[in-house]
Symmetry: C2
Subunit: 164 residues, 2 copies
Amino acid sequence: MILGIDPGIANLGWGVVSTGSGRLHCEAYGHMKTKADAPVESRIQELAGLCNDLFTTYPIDQMSIEDIYYFQNKSSAITVAKVIGALYYVASLQQVAVTTYSPLQIKTTITGFGRAEKLQIQEMVRVLLGLPSIPRPDHAADALAIAICHYTQREGKERLGIYD
Amino acid sequence: MILGIDPGIANLGWGVVSTGSGRLHCEAYGHMKTKADAPVESRIQELAGLCNDLFTTYPIDQMSIEDIYYFQNKSSAITVAKVIGALYYVASLQQVAVTTYSPLQIKTTITGFGRAEKLQIQEMVRVLLGLPSIPRPDHAADALAIAICHYTQREGKERLGIYD
């Protein structure tokens, strides 16, 4: 199973996708929130601990995280980067491979189009996972997109059957 | 004991300072290197694992890390922030409090002067810890400065006896 993570400090989206028999299946998704008035250090520790807990519930063997490339707000980018770093260590403790993807890689992999809108990606997530509606909140849908991106990058796009 | 960390991806400085009987004592210091051709994820995991190992050697009960505030190179700042985040999680697993200080806080705390030169800070580290020479490499001296900064912030500057 692949754990996809949309990293953030106030809201972190996660999604678990299984890939048995060459088909994608949505196992679970959700999001984690931390309190704005807590110190950044403890918010990051809390998020990493909660992500670590996911490994006790799901037999996750791969982790993929959206990276930060381009940003306007230095301070929030630094904070999100810290979240990502903490998750690298979670992966290492769980002896699970972790891969980081840029937003452009995720968009391009899922929709074949680097300038796709957020809603287009979310609709592709819904279709690829055979869900009745787009997962909510957005962070969870994004996390599932990141998990699908990882699967596709690893297995090749033809496995998804979306470029027929 | 306080573990001070000067975070970096290619070179991470560390220093352990004990504070028994109100005096600062240098227990150990050093630096860790990672290979430039390894993936960032595994370099960060390696550094976090090595820092975690320090807890088995020294009875560290506090951790302090230099933060990133101002930077020119976005990419390297993001990478160093990831290292810091991974260390937050190390601290959490070791049930040790972690505090992050800005470069300005560290300079001001140690020398009383925010525009102090690097060498002035290192010389203060040498004097405060009663060492025969400035610790080398620079990253290790900086890490000891960060540990001293934490002690001073917590205990009050008068404990160092440097403002008599």
